[in-house]
């Protein structure tokens, strides 16, 4: 199994870090929607989902930062991965429609960055 990955992330702490065998795909917008959309585009091209798109049990309208690990290797498009991603996207849209993402002070924003980073780095160990 290939050990090379892409990390799709909008988390500044992750974007500025380096990880062995991982290429960072930076997403510039806050909130998880563009991270999910970018991930979807990669899945359509045959990359595989490695980590769950809704890590952290933080609701999508509360969490500004998200990092998702996918395979670097391409194969045929896996429809189970696409279906899971689509379900997560629908769930995220529902939350955001009901209540938009708040603006956080720096300390809070940093807490959210840190949780996302710790979760994704924890998964790499």
């Amino acid at each position: 199994m290939s050990r090379a990955y892409y990390m799709i992330t909008n988390n500044p702490l992750v974007i500025t870090s380096t990880y062995k065998n991982i290429d960072i795909v930076p997403v510039k917008t806050l909130g998880i929607m563009d991270v999910l959309m970018t991930t979807r585009d990669f899945l359509h091209q045959g990359h595989r989902l490695i980590t769950h798109p809704l890590t952290g049990s933080l609701k999508p309208n509360e969490n500004p930062y998200k990092s998702v690990l996918i395979s670097k290797k391409q194969d045929v498009c896996d429809f189970n991965d696409v279906a899971l991603l689509e379900q997560c996207t629908a769930s995220a849209e529902k939350f955001i429609k009901g209540k938009a993402l708040p603006k956080y002070c720096d300390r809070k924003a940093n807490d959210f960055m840190l949780v996302d980073q710790l979760l994704i780095e924890g998964s790499l160990k």
Partner: protein, 429 residues
């Protein structure tokens, strides 16, 4: 395995200079507890405060809730793998419980992922911990500590305090003694061959740092599914080490007093044959989810179960584990009932879970976390109100000038816990 669970009914708790139980009154030695917590050089300051049912007290930010217990005989110690590093098997012998009390750890670790316990008012109706006599351990870490190091220190402080208080019940004659016995899988199956064999799949939060649960001291993300006797939970073999959203957090107290286990034991030998608990995890890797759900389905089949209850902890990522477990267990010809809370938006009209499979056709709802309530001001706050508006469930304007709080019930500890410890549910007509 055979456990005698002796419950000592505690009617009141007072702060004092010795640790004792006398005529149902628990006296807590404040100096002993403070010294115990401050042995850890990651903790700078600790205060011990009391909160009783009906008090005008708000406790926040709450990290964990733990029930004081003590092993009287049988192997091991309460919270094996954590307290004194003794990892011996528990769930056998005799255990005493200081029933009606709890230890609550209070501290700002990750501002948005701790919650509120109100001791009176409408907020009190939503949490089981407004009904317990609470010994609050308010923690302040040393400057510059990393959040995960502080989480570890706070977790261990709570367990050590609960353990020290529990010791006060060791020689006290309990008010009630219940006996729970597991005869082994063959013995258990033969005891009530005419009744349906039911198992309970307990999904443990295990997404990573600040989102972990520990089994005999082992991080649950490193386990593969295994079978446990109900009595092991009663002796603290499973402890909470996570800061997930308050409403669906399973504090250690609820692992010690799992309402699903209690109900299954109450019906055991009458309506069903409770065969045991399968524990599994909720990791972030999809490959881990596949491996663990395969393991759950295999164990359910090897136990010859007819039906399985499955509970989860958290939202989003764990919904996928819940559905994978459901699908694979059902494909083995075993019926499942899922137990979870819901997040269908404030109007209640959207999809409740982030994942679904067609096999998930029986589900018990433990309420919806998006419900908004206003909790009245309290005379006293144990902890701080500093983070209310950025806690999960809070928002800009949640904290009112008069001290009241308008927020989604997500902000209240265990308000919609998927262990069903509360009064919320939903019915389909």
């Amino acid at each position: 395995m055979r456990l005698e669970l002796g419950k000592i009914n505690i009617k009141d708790v007072v702060l004092g200079s010795e640790m004792k139980v006398s005529s149902g009154v628990l006296t807590v030695d404040v100096n002993q507890l403070e010294a115990l917590v401050l042995e850890d050089d990651r903790i700078q300051k600790v205060t011990i405060e009391l909160a009783k049912p009906g008090d005008s007290i708000r406790i926040t930010p709450v990290k964990d809730v733990i029930e004081p217990r003590v092993k009287v005989n049988g192997s091991g110690t309460i919270f094996p793998g954590v307290i004194d590093n003794k990892v011996a098997q528990v769930g056998d012998g005799r255990t005493h419980v200081l029933s009606g009390t709890s230890v609550i750890t209070v501290g700002k670790i990750m501002g948005f992922q701790e919650g509120i316990v109100d001791m009176s008012g409408i907020g009190a109706d939503y949490t089981p911990f407004s009904k317990t006599l609470n010994i609050c351990v308010v923690l302040e870490p040393v400057e510059g500590i990393e959040p995960h190091a502080y989480e570890t220190a706070a977790r261990e402080a709570g367990l050590k305090v609960a353990n020290a208080i529990g010791e006060a019940g060791k020689t006290v004659v309990p008010d009630t003694i219940e006996v729970f016995e597991h005869l082994g899988l063959v013995g258990q199956a033969m005891a009530y061959p005419e009744l349906p064999k039911i198992g309970y799949v307990c999904m443990l939060q295990s997404q990573g740092l600040l989102h972990d649960t520990y089994v005999y001291g082992v991080d649950a993300k490193n386990i593969i599914p295994t079978i446990m006797a109900p009595t092991e939970f009663m002796d603290g073999a499973v402890i909470s080490g996570n800061c997930v959203a308050s409403c669906d957090k399973i504090p250690t107290y609820l692992h010690q007093n799992d309402p699903i286990i209690e109900d299954l034991l109450a019906k055991h030998g009458k309506e069903l044959n409770f065969m045991g608990v399968i524990i599994t995890n909720e990791n972030v890797f999809l490959a881990d989810k596949e491996r663990s759900s395969d393991g759950v389905a295999k164990l359910a089949k090897m136990m010859n179960l007819d039906g399985v209850l499955i509970s989860e902890e958290g939202y989003g990522n764990p919904d996928t584990d819940l559905m994978m477990n459901c699908k694979k267990v059902e494909r083995n010809g075993i019926k499942t009932v899922l137990i979870t809370d819901e997040f269908p938006g404030r109007d209640g009209k959207s999809e409740s879970l982030a994942d679904a499979v067609k096999e998930a056709d029986a589900l018990v709802s433990c309420g919806q976390g998006n419900l908004v309530i206003t909790m009245p001001p309290m005379d006293k706050v144990i902890g701080t109100l500093e983070d209310i508006e950025t806690m999960i469930g809070g928002y800009d304007g949640s904290m009112k000038e008069d001290g009241s709080i308008e927020a989604e019930i997500q902000i209240i500890i265990s308000a919609t816990s998927a262990f069903g410890c509360n009064k919320l549910s939903a019915r389909m007509y």
